[in-house]
């Protein structure tokens, strides 16, 4: 584990407790560097959200870790809830969720809800907490902070509510911020504002961000590194520019080809493509690569042996058919 690594997930396996054959994560590893942004992309159900919940110690009841470690700033984190984890949550790891409209308790003022996290983790007076909250509201760009602290959530727009949620997540100056699809439910124009806000907070506070999304355009703009997940496994990880310019795994290539691009098609450029077939179910045990049934390059070995991640150039990729020669220099 490198010195500036903040969060390190190693070979994480998760299963459904009463149904061990339902394996949700099948060995996921990644590192998050202090102050940097790692994006985790993949289609719905690939395990990206559940990975973030495991880091938070908020795995839904009925899921268990069967193998692996999560190490945060030198200490092991449990995947299930306990008192020590509760002290870390909200204080050193903040989280922003997908649905800002449902993320705030309708019966308490927003100032009250932001102050709650500060009062929970720090030993300060209510008056001081309120001052901090007003300052936070200003930082996250909410209008008229002195008054908006006393408003109830239903009077705020979706974008404003997401700013409140971000203020809550940043309130205790965390080292790590997990953002699970933070802009999916918002208007496009508001999406850009929210991402700018998150990047601004990162520059100012040095907080590391794990951005979970399936919006590749967003990833290209804000992430330092990208991990691509497929059916409970990480298939490729690289520095953002490298991943977009030279994707190595056939699934990553398929994903990028399936991203609509504005403007006219170039001579010979293919129309928007799709990846044929379906994601295997979590109970389906394939002997080889989980992408093999859909893979255009699949060969005999792909159906027999699970590909382990290996480094090709500066890219980690889990594929039998990618060779050094395909990697750019």
């Amino acid at each position: 584990m490198a010195k500036d690594t903040l969060l390190s997930v190693e070979d994480l396996h998760l299963s459904v407790s009463h149904m061990p054959e339902a394996r949700i994560l099948r060995g996921v590893s990644f590192d998050v560097t202090r102050g940097k942004t790692l994006a985790i992309v993949g289609e719905s159900g690939c395990g990206k959200s559940v990975t973030s919940l495991a880091v938070m110690g908020l795995l839904p009841e009925g899921l268990t870790k069967t193998a692996g470690h999560i190490r945060f700033d030198g200490t092991d984190l449990p995947v299930t809830d306990n008192e020590a984890m509760r002290k870390i949550r909200g204080d050193r790891i903040g989280m922003v969720f997908q649905e800002p409209m449902a993320a705030l308790n309708p019966v308490y003022t927003i100032g009250n809800q932001v102050a709650e996290v500060i009062l929970e983790h720090e030993n300060i007076s209510r008056a001081e907490a309120r001052e901090r909250v007003i300052a936070l509201m200003r930082e996250v760009g909410l209008p008229d902070p002195d008054h908006i602290v006393d408003e109830y959530p239903h009077r705020l727009s979706g974008g404003q509510r997401q700013r409140v949620v971000i203020a809550m997540a940043l309130a205790c100056n965390p080292d790590l911020l997990i953002a699970d699809e933070p802009t999916t439910a918002l208007d496009v124009t508001v999406q850009a504002q929210i991402m700018r806000l998150l990047k601004g907070a990162q520059a100012e506070l040095g907080v590391a961000i794990v951005l979970i999304t399936h919006n590749l355009g967003l990833v290209a703009q804000v992430a330092d590194r990208v991990a691509v997940m497929y059916a409970g496994r990480k298939v490729e990880e690289a520095e953002t520019r490298r991943l977009f310019s030279a994707p190595l795994h056939p699934y990553t290539r398929g994903l990028l080809a399936a991203t609509p691009r504005p403007g006219r098609r170039q001579e010979g450029e293919l129309p928007l493509s799709e990846i044929p077939g379906m994601v295997p179910s979590i109970t389906e045990d394939l002997r080889g690569c989980r992408f093999a049934p859909r893979c255009p390059l699949a060969s005999d070995i792909c159906h027999r042996v699970i590909p382990e991640p290996r480094m090709i150039g500066a890219t980690s990729v889990a594929c039998h058919n990618t060779t050094e020669t395909e990697a750019p220099a």
Partner: protein
């Protein structure tokens, strides 16, 4: 902004009170007409009890009670009294209806208030415990218990408790509100009343407890799965605080409506319990008035309980706005 909110609240209350006045008058008319459908009148009931009475005596009684006048005249006189808040005279008891009711009201308020309070506290605690342990043993026990209490008639529970606690164990008296011979005063009197109150309150509370537990459990289950609960967990808030502070306040909204309705039926709701435990409350008074065809008294009680219902509903609606800020009074 607050000043504007206050002004609109007052306007809202005023509007509701005007509505309420008409509602109460309507209820009074309907009650009056319904009671006319019942066979027999006060004169016949009196005569029946006396065992003998000639037609002339009955005539004079009817004239005295105003029962000889036409229906419209009687209704007019009744409404006029209601509007001037004059509840009239009970020929049966030889007392003004108002005094009769005020004499009995404290006993009923004590019984109902104590039982609803007990049921509320118990129901909230049980409902929250059940919801937090959903599917596990505590939830099973509480749910089955609530179902049993809900399905068992309160009067049967009351009788069984008398058999067990009064007759067999001799812990508490079988009925009444205080020791007739004791003549206790001060604190001893309060203790005495509480001692007599125990069984009737439990009997009445069990029924409400079952309803409230089920409502709180259902409400909590719904709220605990909402996104803002997950957000609260992500903030590092303790599970106890999440349950009682974040979830409960959102989960009790449906409970409020039901409690309001229960408080509305305060006056007449305890007839059975009051009868079993010889509790000197309004329910008993109403029941006796019905049997004796003391329609003046009965109507007075009915009007009073309709006022109670209307006030309870208004209070519930006002409380809604306090508990849930997304509710705005208009």
């Amino acid at each position: 902004m607050t000043a504007r909110r206050h002004r609109s609240t007052f306007r809202y209350i005023g509007k509701r009170l005007i509505h309420a006045a008409f509602t109460i008058l309507g209820i009074a008319v309907i009650n009056f007409l319904l009671l006319q459908l019942a066979p027999g009148d006060a004169a016949e009931a009196l005569a029946g009890e006396a065992g003998t009475a000639d037609a002339e005596y009955m005539e004079s009684l009817r004239r005295q009670f105003g029962l000889d006048r036409s229906l419209i005249e009687q209704l007019g006189a009744f409404l006029l009294r209601i509007v001037t808040l004059d509840f009239g005279w009970s020929f049966r008891h030889g007392m003004s209806n108002w005094d009769l009711i005020m004499d009995r009201l404290p006993a009923t308020l004590l019984l109902m208030g104590a039982s609803i309070l007990l049921a509320l506290i118990g129901g909230i605690v049980m409902g929250v415990i059940a919801a937090r342990n959903v599917g596990r043993l505590p939830d099973r026990l509480i749910s089955v218990g609530a179902l049993l209490l809900y399905a068992t008639p309160p009067f049967w529970i009351g009788l069984m408790m008398i058999v067990l606690f009064s007759v067999k164990l001799g812990w508490v008296p079988t009925g009444g509100m205080y020791d007739v011979i004791g003549g206790k005063t001060g604190f001893a009197h309060v203790l005495d009343v509480m001692w007599h109150l125990a069984l009737p309150v439990l009997t009445q509370a069990f029924f409400y407890l079952a309803i409230y537990t089920r409502l709180v459990r259902a409400g909590m289950l719904e709220v605990l799965n909402l996104e803002y609960i997950r957000v609260a967990r992500a903030k590092g808030i303790s599970e106890n605080r999440i349950a009682y502070r974040h979830a409960l306040r959102n989960a009790v909204l449906p409970l409020l409506t039901v409690v309001g309705a229960n408080i509305g039926t305060f006056l007449g709701g305890a007839v059975l319990t009051e009868s079993i435990f010889s509790w000197p409350g309004i329910g008993r008074l109403m029941f006796d008035a019905m049997m004796q065809r003391d329609l003046n008294l009965l109507l007075s009680i009915l009007v009073l309980s309709s006022i109670f219902v209307v006030i309870a509903n208004l209070l519930v609606d006002l409380l809604y706005a306090v508990i849930n800020p997304t509710v705005e009074l208009k």
